[in-house]
Point group: C2
Chain length 405, copies 2
Amino acid sequence: MNSIVVLKFGGTSVGTIERIKATAEKIIEQKNKGFLPVIVVSAMGSTTNELLGMANQISHNPKPREMDVLLSTGEQITIALLSMALSERGYDTISLTGAQCGIITSSSHQNARIDNIDTSRIINELKNDRIVIAAGFQGVTGNGDITTLGRGGSDTTAVALAASLKAKWCDIYTDVSGVYSADPRKVESATKIDYISYDEMLEMAKLGAGVLHPRAVELARAYSVNLRVRSSFSNEEGTVIGMKNNMEKAYIRGVSSQDDIVRVSVVGVPDEPGIAFKLFKVLSENHIRVDMIIQNLNHNLLNDISFTTTIESINKTKEIVENFVSKIGAEGIKINDSVSKISVIGTGIMGYGETASIFFKTLSENGINIQMISTSETRISCIIDNASSQLALKNLHKVFIENVS
Amino acid sequence: MNSIVVLKFGGTSVGTIERIKATAEKIIEQKNKGFLPVIVVSAMGSTTNELLGMANQISHNPKPREMDVLLSTGEQITIALLSMALSERGYDTISLTGAQCGIITSSSHQNARIDNIDTSRIINELKNDRIVIAAGFQGVTGNGDITTLGRGGSDTTAVALAASLKAKWCDIYTDVSGVYSADPRKVESATKIDYISYDEMLEMAKLGAGVLHPRAVELARAYSVNLRVRSSFSNEEGTVIGMKNNMEKAYIRGVSSQDDIVRVSVVGVPDEPGIAFKLFKVLSENHIRVDMIIQNLNHNLLNDISFTTTIESINKTKEIVENFVSKIGAEGIKINDSVSKISVIGTGIMGYGETASIFFKTLSENGINIQMISTSETRISCIIDNASSQLALKNLHKVFIENVS
C-alpha cells in the first residue's frame, strides 16, 4: 500500500462552498502524488455558532450529551459536502463520522478523551483506493453515544488518526502559512519558523500561538507523528514540527504575548502550613486553570499569594477565592485584569542564564515593570502591565530574533 | 412497564424554536398521563432545503450515500433540541439517531427499506423512565452506513417503531387536525373523518391527502398499528385509522383531486402482441410511476395507448417514450399536462354499481367530460380537464358526503 498522509482542514478552510472546492483541490494534489490521503475536517465556520444559538434559545444549561448530538452534525455536514466536491472532480471518496472511523472515546461529553481507534474501516476504504473524509472533533462511547473532544478536538483527531494509521505525516492546514517567531498581527517583522521541536511548539501553543492546540502537540510528541502546519490558502512550505531539539546552544524560537489572563492576589493570608495547598486544591477541584503562582512573605507573618488564570474563568475564580478568604480569615482579594504575559520560547533557555538576563534587561531598558516571573526548560514568561505588551513584544523580537538571524 | 405510545412530529411541528417548545408540551401531556412516549421527529422545516442548496452548489449529481450523510443531520439537530427542551422542563430524556435506535435498513441510499429494528436500546431507556426522542427518516446499514428512507420516511419510522415496540398507538401530529372528506383548502364544507379503515386511508393517501404517506399506512395495516392523525396546533380529537371496514353497505369516506399528474398518449401503435408490455417494462425499469392505463383500438389496426404519470417525472418519461415511438414505428406522442384526477374513496364501492353511476352522472350534469376511468375495491377515479377539477370536487362532495350525512 502507498503511504498514508493525514490532512486536517479547519473551519475557515471549509467555511464556504468555494473554500470546500479549493480544499478539494489541495487534497487532489496529494492524491495525484501517489499518497493515500485521510482527510480530517472541522465544522463549517458559522455552523457551530448557529447550532449553539438554537440551543441557547432552548436552555441555558443543556445536557452535555445532547450538545454533542447537536454539535457533531457540524462536521457531518462538512464531510458529506467535501466528499461530494471530490466525487464531482472524479475521485472516489467516502465520508466517515467519528463513530464510523472507529474513534472510541471516554464518556465525558463535550470534553471526551480518545481511548482507542479501530482503524479497520478506514484501512479497508484506503485499500479500495478511496479518499477517506473523516469528521474531526467527534467520537463515540463504547455504548454508541456521540461525544465531542472539546478544545483542539479536530487537531487531536488528525494526530490520533495519523498515529494509529502510522501515517507518513500529518498536515494541519490553517489560515496562516506556519508557525511564526511572533504573532504577525502584532509584530510586523515576525518570521516563519521552518522547523520547531515538539517541546518548543508545546510552549508556543500554550502561550497562545493559535495555529495548533497543545493537546494535539502532546499527542504528536507521544507518538512521534511528523506534524506540519501549512496554509490552505497558498502553496508555501509550512512549519515542520518534530522530535529533534537543538542541543548545542540556547536557541530562541519565538516570542509571544497573551492578553486574556488575569492576576488574582489573595492578600494578608495567615502564615500557616498548608494554606496555599488548600487554595489551589479547591481551585483545581473546580477546574480553574492556574498558570503562574507567586508567594511573598509580608510584614506581621501575613503572606500575599498571587496567581494567574484565564479571563473566562474569572467569575467562578472570584467566587471560590472570596469564599476561601472568609474561611481562613485573610484580608482580601485583588484582581488585576489589565495584565499581559510575555514569553520567549526556545530550547535549553534555562540552561543558559544569559537568555533570562537579556530578557529582563530588555524590559527594564524599555521602562517595563515585571510583576511575576515563571520559567521552564523551554520558556521564560513575565507578567507585565498590558499597556506595555506591544512594546515588550517588539523589542524582545528585535533582540532575540531579528538581531540574531 | 406502562404502555408505550409513539408520537410523530413533522417538519412544521418542529420548524422553529417556539414550535419545538410547544411540541415538548404535547409530549409532557402524554407522559403525565402515565404513558411511556417514544417521539419521532423530522428535520426542522427549512433545514433540509438549506442542506440541499449547499449540495447543489457542489454537484448536480451527488452520490446518494453522501446525500444521506448530509440530510440525516437534519433530524439529528431536531432530536438534540427537542431533548433539551424537555430537560429544561425537568423531564429525563435521551435523543437517539436512527443508528442508535437500532433501525437497520437496506443499502439503497435515499430510498432505503427498514429491514429490522433492534429495540433493546430504546426499551432500556424506557425502563429508566426516559422519554426517547428518535430521529425519523433515517437508519443504518449492517455495515454502519447512514441511510435515509425517502418519501414518507418519518411516518414510516414512527409506524415501524410502534410495530416493533408493540405500542398502544401511534399518533401522527401534523398541521391539520385529521383526515378530511376532501381537501379543506379546496372544499369549504369538507368534514373531518373520525374513523377510517387502513384500506380507505391508503387510497386517500395515494390520492394526495398529504397527511399520511401510503407507505406508512401499508406498514400500519400489515402490523395492525393503531394509527391516529392529530393536530400539533390544537387539542382536537383527530382521525383514528384502523382495521374495521364498514361491510354493510358502500360508504363513501371522501373525495379528492390530484393536479400534479400528466396524461401521456402514444398514438398509432402497431397492433402487435407484446407492444404494451414492452412500453411499460421500459418505463418501470426507469422507475417511472405509471398510474392509469387505457388502450383503445383505432382505425387501420393502430392502437392508442394512454397512461398517467406524475408531473415531476415528465421529462424522463418523454425521453423514454420518444425513444420507444421511433423504435417501434408508432406515429407519435401527445402529452397533456392540464388534467386532473378526481376520485371518490370508500369501502365496497365497486360492489355497488350505484356509486359509479352516481359519480359519472354528477360529472355529466356539470358538463364535465371523462377522459379516462380507473377503479379499485375502494376507489373510483376519473381523469378530467383540470379547469373543471374544482367544480367536480365540490359537486361530488355535495352528492356523496353532504347530502348523505
